[in-house]
């Protein structure tokens, strides 16, 4: 393109008349596309990663330069996608144009995601829309080529206006070219990003370390397409990294062990766009570092995030409120939510009007189904129960189907199995079973709970029927050596763990007292609880905000207490709960930290209630 040979920018000229093009409302894209005839042309265009938007250079009717609106709405139309945003415009004279046309440079902030050829760019000024067409001559340039060309025009030829200043600012940013440039900074900054997880929709959790002398770094930003987020080290979880100091301490002269960090940056990752970190020094220099955001989601991502984090005492509040809480909540909220209908296999003829339904989630040890049905087969067939297993373990599906078929052939008890297409977790599995249940009463029973006597369910239901003030009732549960596995819970603050309330299991491991009868408890375990089905549905079953399985039984009990109902344990019937003694977890294990997340959710939701309960004294009544 030939440049007009001027030595200084021109001032805007007076208005000239041009035919007005009638516009329609922006909501009707197709009509707008059809109605706006070509009134401009795009010669070059490019996407700027560093600016987070599209740059255009071409020509348009001179009248556009006279429009009042400084930043018109723009819509970039590709074959299959489009992009909307505010446009920054600058204008310049060009030799080989018709007199009624003027050169245009435009910048529109937006995502780089574009499918198909560029078709046209629409600029909406109130009543008027100008459409700059793309054609065979339109070229897509690399960012640095485009920037070089535009800089020359803007500096020498463009009319002075706010748009020009804005555009100069946009293209003056140092460009990220996909390369780590920290080593080229004048001050030493060593940084590694070890993990980055997308917490949908656009937040990111970053784990890494950074070594720089104090006062060197002014700020760090996460950039992705049009999004920018601040990474504030001062607000991050600091992690001790002896390995980093061992590797780099001597070279840098730095010895701060707490050079590791875990941080959460909201609204920073744009889907389909490249992500990177921008490190700005006090000197004004800018360095870049690529940011690879993991594709992992759901539980695997949560496990990774929660590894190697060691928080104590009052570190927990801030860490969870600002970083781990939002990160895991975002990941948890994005997990698949499956609602009925779910595939269901019925074995035998289901009881036509069962009084009691039993919901039993299965994960891992599906052979517990075989043991349970063997013991259930002792129960007399008159009061048929509706037994609903929920398989929450997709890889074991065929194995479970064979086992269920064989178990039905042997024991003859009717039951059904819900087959979940994804692993959803304890709460969701139970809730899906609850949705399918037809009995007036519902028992939530773990797969590793095994009956000793045979009319235990009927006995518990009888207690519920006798006393409508009971919200939920459970039996005493025993370990295989006959000691107490569960007979009620109370709440206790643990100072080392954020001083939050945790759940204490009364008398666990002790030889049980005989004949205690029924006792009201602060809460009871979800491993075996019986309640009215409709009540369970009213309170929404188990909250799905907890991860894996922890605290949601307490959460349910607290919902019931909120309604003035009680939670009761009775030793009139006992069952075995053969809780697995899991291998001793490493003290910083992810499992322990996920428990802390659940405790945080529980604490934030019920803190005041728990305070009142704890203050009211005796747990054993």
């Amino acid at each position: 393109m030939k440049m007009a040979s001027r030595t200084r920018p021109r001032v805007a000229r007076e208005r000239r008349s041009q035919p007005r093009i009638p516009t329609q409302s922006l909501s009707d894209d197709a009509a707008v596309d059809a109605a706006a005839p070509a009134s401009g042309f795009i010669e070059q265009f490019s996407y700027s990663d560093s600016a987070g938007g599209w740059l255009f250079c071409g020509s348009a009717p001179r009248a556009m330069a006279m429009e009042e609106a400084g930043s018109p709405d723009a819509q970039i139309r590709f074959e299959q996608t489009h992009c909307r945003g505010a446009a920054t415009l600058a204008f310049f004279e060009r030799e080989n144009l018709a007199a009624e046309d003027i050169g245009v440079i435009a910048f529109i902030s937006g995502s780089s995601r574009a499918a198909g050829f560029l078709e046209h760019l629409d600029l909406h000024f109130g009543q008027t829309t100008y459409q700059m067409q793309s054609g065979l001559r339109s070229q897509r340039l690399a960012e640095h080529e485009m920037v070089t060309q535009l800089r020359a025009i803007l500096v020498k030829d463009a009319y002075v206006n706010t748009g020009r200043a804005g555009l100069l600012g946009v293209i003056s940013r140092p460009a990220y070219t996909g390369v780590d440039t920290l080593a080229q900074l004048s001050e030493q900054v060593l940084m590694e990003i070890e993990e980055a997880f997308l917490c949908p929709p656009s937040d990111v959790l970053i784990k890494g370390w950074v070594l720089a002398a104090p006062g060197v770094i002014r700020c760090i930003r996460v950039r992705s397409g049009p999004l920018v987020g601040a990474l504030v080290l001062g607000e991050s979880i600091r992690v001790s990294r002896g390995d980093v100091i061992a590797a780099h301490g001597e070279q840098t002269g730095l010895s701060d062990l707490l050079c590791g960090f875990v941080t959460h940056v909201p609204s920073a990752i744009s889907k389909g766009d490249v992500s990177y970190l921008e490190v700005e020094l006090e000197t004004g220099e800018i360095g870049f570092k690529p940011l690879r955001v993991s594709r992992q989601t759901g539980l695997p991502a949560m496990k990774q995030i929660m590894q190697a984090i060691d928080l104590r005492y009052d570190e927990l509040d801030h860490a969870f409120d600002r970083i781990l809480g939002p990160a895991l909540s975002g990941l948890n909220a994005a997990r698949p939510r499956i609602r009925a209908p779910v595939q269901r296999i019925q074995f035998g003829t289901p009881p036509p009007a069962p009084q009691i339904s039993v919901v039993i989630p299965l994960f891992g040890r599906i052979d517990f189904l075989e043991y349970q049905l063997a013991f259930f087969s002792r129960h007399s067939p008159e009061n048929l129960r509706e037994i609903i297993y929920v398989l929450d373990d997709p890889p074991r599906r065929r194995e479970l189907e064979s086992l269920a078929h064989s178990a039905f052939a042997r024991f003859g008890i009717p039951f059904s199995v819900l087959i979940l297409p994804e692993n959803l977790g304890f709460a969701s599995a139970c809730n899906l079973g609850l949705e399918a249940a037809r009995g007036e009463f519902l028992g939530f029973v773990n797969s590793d709970v095994f009956p000793i006597s045979d009319n235990w369910l009927e006995l518990l239901v009888a207690r519920l029927q006798r006393d409508p003030g009971i919200g939920v009732i459970g039996p005493r549960l025993l370990f295989e050596d006959g000691t107490v596995q569960h007979e009620g819970c109370c709440y206790r603050r643990i100072q080392e763990l954020g001083n939050w309330f945790f759940i204490d299991h009364l008398n666990k491991g002790r030889i049980p007292d005989a004949g205690r009868g029924m006792r009201i408890c602060d809460a009871i375990t979800g491993a075996c609880m019986v309640m009215r089905r409709d009540l369970a549905r009213e309170v929404g079953g188990f909250s799905e905000d907890y991860i894996i399985g922890d605290f949601e039984d307490s959460d349910l009990c607290l919902k019931l207490k909120q309604r003035g109902l009680t939670c009761v344990i009775t030793d009139e019937c006992q069952l075995y709960h053969l809780e697995r003694k899991s291998q001793a977890p490493p003290s910083q294990g992810w499992r322990r930290n996920i428990t802390l997340y659940n405790a945080w959710v529980h604490q934030r939701r019920w803190g005041d209630t728990l305070e009142r309960i704890a203050a009211s004294g005796a747990n054993i009544r």
């Binding site: 087969s377 024991f411 003859g412 295989e480 050596d481 809780e579």
Partner: protein
């Protein structure tokens, strides 16, 4: 012996398929009872590896109209559960067809312990009897109650102790295993133990004492007892080992004793080994063959033998040695030795010590004690008169007629 009865004998195998003591004893009982007037007998055995399986038929009759074979399906050896989905309905149908008054199980292997529940459910008034031939319900280590790592005798099972042998199996799983088996054992009306020792073990494990009786296995039918030593011995004492050549049968103890005897230049004793090693793990086999190669001329290995000709073989030795390092129950070899009037030298534990009275039917030595065994053999080699006395005082094996009669009395008592 009075009433008529319809009896189904069920064993995990059939003598025409395998030659183990349990199926031989069960089939002898079947054949003997079938001869009694008023008794209707059927036999149900299982076939391993689908031998004789007719495609799609759960039960077949390859041997006689009163004998059925179940072509076994998938079997869970940990808790003895039969996972074959075709078995329950087919078994119920067979029971309904045969209408037995008594189902007498010898083993629940291949049938699965659920079979007791199936019988009870199909025929509420039927009596269920189970003869226990081993300690499988108690012990996951081949039912031998010997520790896996060190081959020490185990006196009592518990979830924690069993986990010590099987680190990969959680104690709670051993607990569940016991609960599962006992849940179905609850349907059994009476248990038969071939030895008092086994009975005690099972009562300690949880069987009600009132439900357990001791009745010997039937080893042979109508076989004449040998006359004893027919001539004076000249030459070394011939010590015969009969049975599986395996570690638990004490072959290691025996070979070590032979080595001592050779070192002491004591050629008054010769060890003759009759048995099969081919079912043992490869490591054991190579050890055994290596030992044999190094052994002196006082050890002779004869290889496998046919049980039907055991009498001739026992007649060719002076004493029978049973150095087992596990408890045993009621070994067939002891019954055979009693029949052949050959004194039995055995370990002082379990079923062996019970069936062999020390000094009367044979001699005990402390289990696993090679020096004690060696000294005992040397002493006996030097005092042939002692052996002759024992050979004459040894009691006869219980006659099969008597054993059958004991069973009949039991059935009568259960059915009245």
């Amino acid at each position: 012996m009075t009433s008529a009865a319809n009896i189904l004998i069920a064993s995990h195998s059939h003598p025409q398929l395998t030659r183990g003591g349990a199926e031989i004893s069960a089939h002898h009982l079947f054949a003997a009872l079938a001869g009694h007037e008023g008794y209707e007998l059927s036999y149900l055995g299982c076939a391993r590896d689908h031998v004789n399986q007719k495609m799609g038929a759960t039960f077949s009759q390859p041997f006689s109209p009163s004998e059925y074979i179940y072509a076994g399906g998938a079997f869970d050896w940990f808790k003895f559960a039969n996972t074959d989905p075709t078995f329950p309905a087919a078994f119920r149908a067979l029971l309904t067809e045969l209408q037995p008054d008594v189902v007498h199980f010898h083993h629940y292997l291949r049938f699965g312990v659920e079979a007791f529940f199936l019988v009870r459910d199909a025929l509420p008034n039927c009596r269920i009897v189970l003869t226990l031939h081993e300690y499988l319900a108690i012990c996951n280590h081949y039912g031998q109650m010997v520790t896996k790592q060190h081959r020490n005798l185990c006196h009592q099972a518990s979830p924690l102790r069993c986990n010590e042998c099987f680190k990969e199996i959680d104690p709670t799983d051993f607990f569940l295993r016991t609960l599962y088996i006992q849940r179905f054992f609850d349907h059994v009306d009476h248990f038969i133990a071939p030895s008092a020792f086994l009975a005690e073990r099972y009562i300690a494990w949880g069987l009600p004492p009132g439900k357990v009786s001791v009745i010997e296995n039937i080893v042979h039918r109508n076989v004449k007892r040998s006359a004893g030593f027919t001539q004076e011995r000249d030459g070394p004492l011939r010590v015969g080992f009969f049975g599986q050549v395996s570690e638990l049968k004490g072959i290691g103890v025996l070979l070590a004793a032979a080595k001592f005897l050779a070192e002491q230049d004591e050629f008054g004793v010769v060890i003759e080994i009759f048995g099969d090693y081919s079912l043992q793990p490869m490591e054991f086999q190579s050890h055994f063959l290596a030992h044999l190669a190094k052994a002196g001329s006082n050890v002779v290995f004869h290889g496998p033998y046919d049980q039907d000709h055991v009498d001739e073989l026992m007649q060719s030795v002076d004493v029978v040695v049973m150095p087992s390092i596990w408890w045993e129950n009621s070994p067939v070899v002891i019954q055979e030795a009693l029949r052949n009037r050959r004194p039995i030298i055995c370990s002082d534990i379990g079923g062996m010590a019970e069936k062999v009275r020390d000094g009367i039917d044979g001699f005990h030595f402390p289990v696993g004690n090679v020096i004690a065994l060696t000294s005992l053999l040397v002493r006996l080699a030097k005092t042939p008169a002692r052996l002759k006395a024992v050979s004459e005082s040894m009691h006869a094996p219980v006659a099969s007629k008597e054993i059958v009669a004991q069973h009949v009395r039991l059935y009568d008592a259960l059915l009245s």
